[in-house]
Amino acid sequence: MAAAAALRFAMLLLFWLAIAGTAALPVGLIAAALGTAASLQLMPPARLRPRPAALALLVLRFPWQALRAGLAVARIALDPRAAPRPGTIEWTPRLPPGTARDAFLAYASLLPGTLPAGGLAGGAVLIHALEAEGAVAEAMTAEEARFARAFGLDG
């Protein structure tokens, strides 16, 4: 717990220094302390074993995903003959319910064409897709596997 708190405090302070510089350091110290307390409350420390190579791949792949996602929306929005064919599919995550699954679903909302829209009683999750006819569930499963590999959630 103490190690997690120290790490989170250091990361938050580093982020403060990166965006605000050293001019208002006392404010930054207070903000980092409050942020650490809030984050420990909201997200208790979990045993993560990130795999550097898989994590780097995930991070480096992200701008490409953002480009694909933005282009897909822009094409449908700006082409007067195109119309979205939205739909909601049910998809069952491999990750157990909890912080890791929630984190993946938040990440999935940034990926092309998918927007998680809440869970169902049986453990499935509703995914709103802009083009519901494609292989949405398969893409989600593949992304989930990449995400789990990067953070060591699959081992």
């Binding site: 990166a18 996602a69 933005g70 979205p84 938040a106 909302s109 940034l110 829209a117 809440g118 709103h128």
Partner: protein, 97 residues
């Protein structure tokens, strides 16, 4: 070199603006709340990313570049957190239009 950087900035910011226009067009045209969220988040993220990239070429220090990318990261983080919540609320409320 400065000319090249300036040209890059102009091109990237203009491309970014195009995606903001596309996101707004989607917001107006798309049929349901969740589709509109797609437009608002994904197209605008790319637009903001391109503007950040263009402005980063004009930054005078590494700190400036870092600050610009921090803006992008914070916007992505907040919309990744709020997008699925809004989509869930829209479904529960039955707000289709």
């Amino acid at each position: 070199m400065t000319l090249l950087l300036d040209a890059f900035t102009v091109a990237a910011v203009l491309a970014g603006l195009l995606f903001f226009v596309a996101g707004t067009a989607g917001l107006l045209r798309f049929p349901d709340t969740a589709s509109r969220l797609h437009a608002l988040t994904k197209a605008d993220h790319l637009g903001l990313g391109l503007i950040v990239l263009g402005l980063a070429a004009q930054a005078e220090s590494a700190g400036g570049v870092l600050r610009l990318f921090a803006v992008w990261a914070l916007v992505l983080l907040s919309s990744a957190a709020s997008g699925p919540i809004l989509a869930r609320l829209a479904r529960r409320g039955g707000a289709g239009g």
